[in-house]
Each structure stands twice: as C-alpha cells, then as structure tokens.
C-alpha cells in the first residue's frame, strides 16, 4: 500500500485512462452484442432482424435502453425489498470487474513511460518486466463464482414460484459447471507454470504462431479448451443451458418479477458475462493479444473475442435447450471425469514430450 504512494503521477493517469477505456469499451460491446445477437440469429433463420431504428436497425440498442429506462419500476409487495434491490447489482458487478486482470494488448509507450495494456498491472523499469496480479486466473474464477449470488437472490427475493425455481436451477447449475471449468484450467497451469495471466499470454507467444496457442499445443489442452468454453457457456446461463430463465417453462425464470432498469441490468450482466468469458477463453487458450505483426495487439484481442462471441450466438441459434437431468448428467458424469483424467494426461504429456 505504501509502495503505491511512491509511484510516479503518470501511473495514476494511466490507470484511470485504462479503467475508463476498458469500461466504456465493454459497455459498448455489451450494448451492441444485443443487436448483433438479434441480427446473427435473424440471418441464421432467414430473417432480417431489427431494421427500423436507424440504418439497418443500428440504433436499436439505444432505443431498447431508453424504453426500459422509462418503464415503471415495480417491486412486488411480498418481496424482501433489500435483497430484491441489490440482486441486479450483485449480478452486474462481478461480470465487469473480471476485466481488471485480463491483458488486452502489449506495452504502449506514452511520453517515455511504458504502460502495459492490462488494468491491474504496472511496468517496472528497474526489472524491465510487467508486474501483475500473480493469482490472476484464480481472481477470475472467484469473481465468476460470485456472479451466482445475483441470480439466486433475485430468484429468492421475488417471492414467486417461477423466480424461486429459476434461482434454484441457477445455483445448482453454476456450482456443477464451475468445477469442470476450474479443472479444465488446471492443465493450463501445468503448461504455463504460472497463475499470472500476463505470463500465460507471454508463454503462448513465440515463433510457432498459432501452434503456440495452448488450444493447439497438445491434444489434452485442446480438449481442456473445448470443455472450458462449453462449461463457461453453462455457467453464464446461455442457450443451450439457459434453464434458469427457460421461457417455455418458467415465464422468465429468476427475473420474472423485475421491470424497468433492473431488468435491463440483468440483461447487461448476461451479455457482460458473455464478453468476459470470451475474453478469458481468448487469454487462456487463443494466445491472448498475440497475432501477426501487421495489426496491433489490442486489435487481435478484439478480433478473437468477437469471433468467440459470434460462436456463442451461433451455438444459441443451433442447439435446443437441454433438459435439467441431461444438464446435470453432462456436468457431473461427462465433463468432470474427462477433465480429471485430462489433468493427469496433460502432466504425463509434459513429462514425456516436454
């Protein structure tokens, strides 16, 4: 803490600038992800999607936001008021603060001061290295596990059958898939030997190009990457795992009783979670911000993240929803054993092949 006070003023300026840029960028991505989702699914179903507001419907997210903002705010009489009011915030905040540790670009020189493009990090000129949170991956796992409280609380505090069922489903589902996702990352720890995201990204660089990415490094990390992405989709409750808000069974699940901006906040949390998960997958498995030198690193990062977001929408347009027992069976009887064996197999691969 006292070491913080000894830092040059440029550190504070850079920190505030990084936070602002990343936050605004993620917010814009969240807003336009809703538009992109409707367009992508529209095209896949041979429809046009939103077309009326603005050129090709480009103003649709703003119109939606304004509409929700001016809706009446309803709090059910029997609801537990405090939990009901804070639940959307608890859902939204963890989705955004995970971005603090994700490196989204290489170092940038401003007035002779080197700034690493990662919020919670600083360049140390005496060592010539970027110092960042050395438990970055665990931080992301921790924040992801906190996101469930928002949904569970929303479901419980609304005092409605459908909401409660949605909340119960959400808590069981998120705990089950967290395990498999965490175990899938263990094989990445084995490969990199570090928990710092900056180190993990640096380890995936090098002369091999795409072959250096952990996804293509060996068959077991490939499996880990696929399982991690699927489990992450399950953890953020997206189709085909969107049982907590299954419209055909539970009206709107945990957010049935919500209206106005609070409902919008749940939507923002869902899309922000999607962006976070795609950014984490990019960092851990797809080489982070590294790419051919004709584009700067942050552009590669954005391109990879947007490709994964497109994949999420593609999956949503393709697969029907799982049944609840199928979902539990997939998590506990398929993914958990595979990832457990995968950890051992990766260790053996490192021992034999190197």
């Amino acid at each position: 803490m006292d070491a913080l006070l000894a830092l040059p003023p440029m550190y504070y300026v850079a920190m505030v600038a990084k936070v602002l840029i990343a936050f605004v960028f993620v917010l814009l991505t969240v807003a336009y992800a809703t538009y992109a989702e409707r367009k992508v699914i529209g095209f896949m179903q041979v429809r046009l999607g939103p077309m009326r507001t603005g050129w090709y419907g480009l103003l649709q997210p703003i119109a939606d936001g304004l509409k929700l903002f001016f809706k009446e705010e309803v709090v059910p009489k029997q609801a537990s008021t405090f939990a009901f009011l804070v639940a959307p915030l608890i859902a939204l905040v963890p989705a955004f603060i995970s971005f603090a540790v994700i490196p989204f670009g290489g170092n940038v020189e401003v007035f002779g001061y080197t700034i690493p493009l990662q919020i919670a990090s600083v360049y140390d000129p005496t060592v010539g290295k970027v110092l960042d949170l050395n438990v970055g991956v665990l931080y992301i796992l921790g924040m992801a596990s906190l996101g469930v409280y928002g949904i569970v609380l929303a479901g419980w505090s609304s005092n409605s059958k459908y909401s409660l069922l949605g909340g119960l489903r959400a808590s069981a589902q998120m705990i089950s898939y967290e395990l498999a996702a965490g175990l899938a990352i263990v094989s990445i720890f084995l490969m990199s030997g570090s928990l710092s995201l900056n180190q993990i990204v640096a380890d995936q660089a090098g002369a091999f190009g795409v072959a250096g990415w952990y996804l293509f490094r060996n068959p077991f990390t490939f499996l880990a990457g696929i399982i991690f992405f699927i489990c992450s989709i399950a953890e953020i409750n997206r189709t085909p795992f969107d049982l907590p808000e299954a419209e055909t069974e539970l009206v709107s699940g945990f957010c049935t009783e919500y209206s106005s901006m609070k409902y919008a906040m749940f939507f923002m949390a869902e899309y922000a979670n999607m962006v976070t998960v795609c950014a984490v997958t990019t960092t851990l498995f797809l080489g982070g911000w590294h790419g051919p030198a004709f584009l700067p690193g942050w552009m590669w990062f954005i391109a990879k993240v947007y490709f994964l977001i497109f994949c999420c929408m593609w999956i949503r347009a393709t697969y029907p929803r799982y049944r609840y027992d199928q979902l539990m069976r997939l998590g506990w009887k398929v993914f958990l054993p595979i990832t457990l064996v995968n950890v051992v197999a990766t260790a053996l691969w490192i021992m034999v092949v190197g």
């Binding site: 803490m1 006292d2 913080l4 006070l5 537990s80 405090f82 939990a83 949170l133 050395n134 438990v135 665990l138 931080y139 796992l141 921790g142 992801a144 596990s145 906190l146 469930v148 409280y149 569970v152 609380l153 479901g155 419980w156 505090s157 409660l164 909340g167 119960l168 808590s171 069981a172 998120m174 705990i175 967290e178 965490g182 928990l195």
Partner: protein, 168 residues
Amino acid sequence: METLFFTIVAAVAVLSSILVITCKNPINSALSLVMTFFCLATFYVMLDAPFMAAIQVIVYAGAIMVLIVFVIMLLNIRSETGKRSNHAVAISSIVAFFVLFETCYFLFRSTAAKEGMGPITSSVVESVGHTELIGKAMYSQFLLPFEITSLLLLVAIIGAVVLSKKKI
C-alpha cells in the same frame, strides 16, 4: 494509508459478522457471512497472501455459501419468529466464551509474536511467490497431513453417496 484501509475493512468485517447472528432472516444472515468472508479475503491480500485470498473467495464465498443459500431456499425457512430454545442459547454462548478465552490465552502466551520474524518474510514471499511457497510446503513438509485430509474428504464423498442412494 494501509492503517486507514485496514480500519475500514475491519469495521465492515465486525459489522457484518454481528449481522450474521442478529438478522432474523436466514438468507440475510448467509449474505452477511459472505460479506465477512470477503473482508477476510481482503485481510489476506494485505498480509501478502493473495493465493489464500483467492481460495477464500472461491471456496468459501463462491461454493460453500452458495450451497448453504441453496439449502435455505430449498427448505424455504421463513423469518425466525418463534421463541428460541434457552438451552441452545446458553450452551452455544458457553462454547463461544471458551473459544474466545482460548484464543486470547494462546495469543498472549505464545512467543511467536514476541520473537520477531520467522523465515518467511514479505521479501521472501515477493521473490519466490506465495503460491509456490504454499505448494512446496504442502507437497514436501506437510505431505502426510495433506494426504490424510484428502482421505477424509474421500470418505465424506462416499458417505454422501451412500446416504443419498436408496439402492446401491
């Protein structure tokens, strides 16, 4: 700066842990407990133990408390309105008093605080890394306790399966 930050977090920790036992509603108690765990994680970060902080959040706040909330929701316990048993309050306050007494006794009696720094100081943690230190100690020096703990957990898992299955 550090003292100020510690004071704020400590105040929140004490307040939320008082709320755990005074809240009428079990869900609110559980949430206050999550807040207390979060403050503990902050203390770990301030003690140069980021790995412990992350594990505290992942395991306690993220997994165990979610399960507790899940069970409370499933049982649908509403606010505690009935009169609580006097025996339970008496026994638990006696136990709590003894635990407090024991903690204070060992705290004032132990020599660890007076003898100064042990072998693992802040600079060692900074140069080697907290996660690496814990990992090495756990898999070499404390291997036997580690294995015994894992065996206990395995027994608990098998017990849970046996209890919940009607037919094995």
